[in-house]
Amino acid sequence: MSGKATILIVEDQKGFRMIFEDVLVAAGYEVLSAADGERGWEMSKERKPHLVLLDLGLPKIDGFEVLRRIRADAETQNTPVIIFSVMGEQNSVKKAMDLGANDYIVKGFHPPLQILGKVKEQLAPSNP
């Protein structure tokens, strides 16, 4: 790992935040977290993480809106975004991918290794 990539987790469920944080920290990333959409958007703009892991169902403003703002802002529009989904919600995955998400993780289905694989894949081109 050359330098510490910063990853922002935007997730309202404390349990999931902890799970992903632990996995990513153990893999050597620096992890930031936000518990609602508004905070998530602010942190994306202020801290400029290398990657955003974004839940869709969030308080205040939802994940779709956060994604829209990230893609609309010149400073953040190239930040890779991986969205969190739950199983059986293919439609929201499709919607988010259309809005410019780079990949998706199905919570409780994709094991940690696969999650790390997806994260590495997104970080690879911009963080050699």
């Binding site: 999931f16 739950v86 199983m87 289905f109 940690p112």
Partner: protein
């Protein structure tokens, strides 16, 4: 055979029968009354007719009587043979002596003694009258006429015949009319019955309502039924909402627990001893099954609420199969099963919802692994006419016809077969997803030999819709 019972008759036969019987009875009554009244008035009419004839003959014979010309009188009476009903006739002079007489050749040659007063009588199938012959108010003799009642009998026979013919015709017409009209009564009723049976069997569409055609009792039944179905639908919606809400509420914690288990197994909480590893392995298996079951419950409730949509696009068989078999290496290896792929790489383009088709195929592969302890699982791609087919065949336990019959229903979840968690709803969901993609899922199986599921979706034909 069984005893005939009116209460077992279909309503349409009852209505027809009632209409035909009542119209026939009333027509018969009318005919009987007519015949009866005819038979009462006819003797009077006959007597009148005979009296009129006597009047004419009497008037014509006054001269012959006055001039004692019996030859002319006889000639006059002989003209009566033109009337076949006249049996005999006799003209008496003032002294009561026979002046001229006539008898039909086949009738008895008998003439009674004169009766002075005017008189008519019916007896022994004939009618007789004595009538004075008057000339300018003075009596010049007496005329006797006897007629048979054959005319009356013939008339009565005619009436009877007409009654029978009219009766039969009326019966047939009323049968025709009744069987047409009963439709208007039993048709809507049959509709109610069919819809009720539909719903009772559990396949009824609760969003449909009966057409209320009138304000009669059937209209009322239809309306009451609609109200009832509306309430039922309310309960059903509530049930689906409840399933949906509960599943959503359950899904996140189960997913979280799974995540924590995964992290522990990854070693994030430190080195695990073998016992801990075994426990976590079991917990992970249970957690995954539960997650799957909850997901299935949500999908089923979406299907039942009619909020499932498909996104049909051209997709290659290769891509679908590739995505579906991705995660099964480990479970296959664990059971020592081999996965065979046939025809997949040359398989053509399909027109389907990629994710739903992949999900369906994953479901089938998952089931096949569960039900197979040794041998292989074959994923085969082929084409059948306009349809692209993907088969999943195993060498597992197979199943009997009864199980196969209930395979694609929701009922299995509630039945005895709900022993394996998550085994219940997958195929019900798959069936619905396949139908939504204009395809289908079918199964063939033999107990002890294995099972073959077949997914079929339309093949993609460039130029006919689709985005290429």
């Amino acid at each position: 055979m069984g005893i005939f019972r009116f209460s077992d008759m279909p309503l349409k036969k009852k209505i027809t029968l009632i209409a035909v019987v009542s119209s026939s009875v009333s027509l018969l009554m009318a005919c009987l009354v007519f015949i009866l009244s005819e038979s009462l008035t006819f003797p009077r009419v006959m007597r009148q007719n005979l009296s009129n004839l006597a009047q004419i003959i009497g008037d014509n014979s006054t001269a012959a009587l006055s001039f004692n010309d019996s030859r002319t009188a006889q000639g006059l009476l002989d003209t009566l043979k033109a009337n076949p009903h006249i049996l005999s006739a006799c003209l008496y002079d003032l002294k009561g002596q026979v002046f001229a007489r006539y008898a039909r050749p086949d009738a008895p040659q008998y003439w009674p003694a004169v009766v002075w007063e005017e008189k008519s009588e019916f007896s022994g199938g004939s009618v007789r009258i004595f009538q004075p012959v008057l000339s300018g108010g003075d009596r010049v003799g007496t005329l006797y006429l006897e007629s048979d009642t054959r005319e009356m009998q013939l008339r009565m026979m005619d009436y009877t015949l007409v009654t029978v013919v009219v009766g039969v015709l009326a019966f047939l017409i009323s049968l025709l009319v009744a069987s047409r009209l009963q439709q208007r009564v039993t048709g809507p009723l049959q509709q109610v019955v069919d819809r009720m049976k539909d719903i009772a069997k559990g396949e009824g569409d609760l969003t449909k309502r009966l057409e209320v055609t009138g304000k009669d009792e059937i209209g009322e039944v239809a309306e009451a039924f609609n109200t009832f179905v509306g309430k039922l639908q309310g309960v059903e919606d509530m049930k689906l909402d409840l399933i949906s809400v509960v599943s959503h509420q359950l899904k996140t914690p189960v997913a979280e627990i799974n995540g924590f288990i995964e992290n522990m197994m990854m070693g994030l909480t430190g080195e695990l001893n073998p016992k801990q590893k075994t426990y976590l392995d079991e917990m992970r298996a249970i957690g995954r099954e539960n997650y799957r079951l909850i997901t299935d419950l949500l999908s089923a409730s979406k299907i039942d609420r009619g909020v499932v949509t498909v996104d049909l696009k051209p997709v290659s068989t290769k891509e679908v199969v590739g995505l579906a078999i991705r995660d099964y290496e480990v479970p296959l290896a664990r059971k020592g099963l081999s996965l065979e792929l046939e025809g997949v790489w040359e398989g053509g383009m399909l027109y389907a919802d990629r994710d739903k088709l992949v999900e369906a195929l994953r479901n089938l592969i998952n089931n096949a692994i569960k039900c197979t302890d040794k041998g292989s699982i074959t994923v085969r791609a082929l084409t059948e006419g306009d349809m692209g087919v993907i088969e999943v065949a195993d060498t597992g336990i197979g199943m009997d016809a009864e199980t196969m019959g209930r395979l694609f229903t929701k009922n299995r979840v509630l039945g005895k077969e709900a022993h394996r968690s998550g085994a219940g709803l997958g195929l019900y969901i798959t069936k619905n997803f396949m139908k939504q993609q204009n395809g289908d899922i079918t199964v063939t199986s033999e107990k002890g030999r294995g099972t073959c599921f077949k997914l079929a979706v339309p093949r993609f034909k460039p130029g006919e819709g689709g985005r290429l």
